[in-house]
């Protein structure tokens, strides 16, 4: 199969749109779960208000905003990891072992 390919012929693209969409969806979802856990663990250990300065108590109202932003930052970075993983798995050219 692959051996008969002409030298200038591009290898057949094995990724289709549906696979990419599914990979995107799965990455979005798994990174969401990871971001939830990360947000809970990080903000249970660190009070964002005491991290910035010693000006305590007056910033209580800021916490929900910091938690929210923190969650989306975590989601963004875990999504990058999950999406790259999904992409590398999807776009992998099948090796001889996986050929039928």
């Amino acid at each position: 199969m692959g051996n008969s390919m002409a030298a200038n012929e591009l290898p057949q693209r094995l990724i289709d749109g549906a696979q990419l969409r599914e990979g995107f969806g799965v990455a979005l979802w798994t990174s969401f779960i990871a971001a939830c856990l990360e947000t809970a663990a990080v903000f249970a250990c660190f009070d964002p208000v005491t991290l910035g300065s010693n000006d305590l108590a007056s910033l209580d109202a800021l916490r929900p905003m910091i938690y929210g932003l923190g969650f989306f930052v975590f989601w963004l970075f875990t999504f990058i990891g999950a999406a790259l993983t999904a992409y590398l798995l999807i776009s992998r050219t099948p090796g001889p072992a996986s050929r039928p």
Partner: protein, 457 residues
């Protein structure tokens, strides 16, 4: 190459909407009951009051979780982790014992999908009416029914989002603000976010969440064995299947299955249980109810599709007590006992000492060395207490703060700036010591926290 192309096409077949047929029967009643109770708890809990405050409130701005009489602080986070481990182990235990009970009766995905499907039936009618409506051209009647469904769905989703945020921000005020459209930016955002997730998951994604997104669906088979309770079709009794009329004499050798396909039509994930156990099966038992009703009509005994074990289908006795069941049960019991012990014997006070980050140490005019700390006294008790602060393992230390005694209200935290002074020349470099908070009314209880004192090298 062509074979690979074909395989890809089969794996990624275009999704077709599943029109699950409504069924009634024992398990459908049980599921309705479970859905009602769980949704009742979710929507009702934030409105309950306890000791003058919301009974269950995860107060994120104040970093306090109120759960009836229990107040949890960030220091108690390990309890939450513990609880999650217990939840995971319970899931393993019940899966090994009785299969996917969680999926069929308790998973939020199932529960909210049931509610959304109910609203769909209310506006668009039963399975065949829905299919007909979807095929029909856009008439006024179709627009009316479809928009009626959307209005119900969106309202319910928004109410769900509001309730969800009500677990984090007092719901009394929240509901008022929602009706006057004066929610704060973040509150409004999370209400919409959760409403959108509910609408998407329960209205559109449905069984696809279980098939493509749920990790549990993929690994639950690892907990299964031949003695696990699963929903199965009794092939020995049912085959060879074939249609036959009411009270008609069946052909010689014909099985009990009349191939009415009602079990397939009732399946919310669109599978045929007669093909054997499949990972898409969420064990909702709709096919059992559907088949039992048919068996009653044709005069055959119930249970052609039933809760059973692989062992029973194979004619071998089912063993309830297997090593994995015992291991899960013992592990779960130990964890539960430990959890109860940890909650009951939780220290009523906690202490956090943060060094002032601006200066390592300061030399006073009289030659003494001063270090500044922020001491957070956490009072988890239901009563207010007064504390006196002192030090241990630091000779000649004098503790100075704005007031000699620190008052901390019930279930509250008080941050105090504390200056610790020692005579000059006594210490060099750093030294670890303990800060002690002593409640005045409880002489035999005190709480300590480690800190570090710095002097000139």
């Amino acid at each position: 190459m062509n074979t690979e192309g074909a395989a890809v096409e089969v794996l990624y077949a275009a999704h077709e909407k599943v029109y699950a047929r409504e069924v009634s029967g024992r398990f459908s009643t049980l599921r309705s009951l479970s859905v009602t109770v769980l949704l009742g708890v979710f929507y009702g809990l934030p409105w309950l009051h306890w000791n003058g405050r919301q009974a269950v409130l995860f107060d994120l701005p104040a970093r306090k979780f109120f759960i009836f009489g229990l107040t949890l602080f960030p220091q108690d986070f390990y309890l939450l982790t513990w609880l999650l481990i217990m939840a995971a182990l319970s899931l393993f235990f019940f899966t090994a014992l009785a299969g996917r009970l969680w999926c069929g009766y308790a998973c939020p995905q199932t529960v909210w999908t049931e509610a959304f499907v109910w609203m769909e039936r209310l506006t668009e009618g039963n399975r065949s009416q829905q299919m007909k409506l979807d095929r029909a051209p856009w008439t006024a009647r179709k627009v009316l029914r479809k928009s009626g469904k959307q209005i119900l769905w969106v309202t319910f989703a928004l109410f769900t989002g509001l309730t969800f945020v009500g677990f984090f921000s007092p719901i009394d005020g929240l509901a008022g603000k929602a009706f006057t459209a004066t929610l704060s930016g973040w509150e409004a955002f999370w209400v919409l976010f959760y409403a959108f997730a509910t609408y998407g998951n329960a209205g559109f994604m449905r069984e696809q969440v279980c098939k493509y997104m749920c990790p549990y669906a993929r690994f639950q088979s690892a907990m299964f064995d031949r003695n696990t309770l699963v929903i199965s079709y009794d092939g020995a009794r049912g085959e060879p299947r074939g249609a036959r009329g009411r009270n008609a004499v069946r052909a010689a050798g014909q099985g009990d299955c009349i191939d009415c396909t009602l079990c397939v039509q009732a399946c919310p994930t669109g599978i045929d249980i007669r093909k054997g156990l499949q990972y898409e099966c969420i064990a909702c038992a709709a096919c059992i109810d559907a088949c039992d009703a048919v068996m009653d009509k044709v005069g055959s005994p119930r249970g052609l599709v039933r809760y059973s074990t692989q062992a029973e289908i194979d004619g071998v006795p089912t063993r309830l007590l297997r090593p994995r069941i015992i291991i899960y049960a013992v592990g779960l019991s130990l964890l539960m006992a430990g959890f109860v012990y940890a909650v009951v014997h939780r220290a009523p006070f906690d202490l956090d000492v943060l060094r002032d980050r601006n200066a390592l140490y300061r030399e006073l005019d009289d030659g003494r060395i001063e270090n500044v700390y922020t001491v957070r006294i956490i009072n988890k008790d239901q009563h207010a207490h007064q504390f006196r602060l002192s030090t241990l393992n630091l000779a000649n230390a004098v503790v100075d703060s704005d007031s000699p005694v620190q008052s901390v209200a019930a279930e509250d935290v008080n941050s105090v700036v504390v200056r610790v002074r020692i005579p000059g020349g006594q210490e060099h470099g750093g030294r670890n010591f303990l800060v002690v908070a002593q409640p005045l009314d409880l002489p035999d209880v005190s709480v300590t926290s480690r800190a570090r004192f710095f002097a000139e090298p």
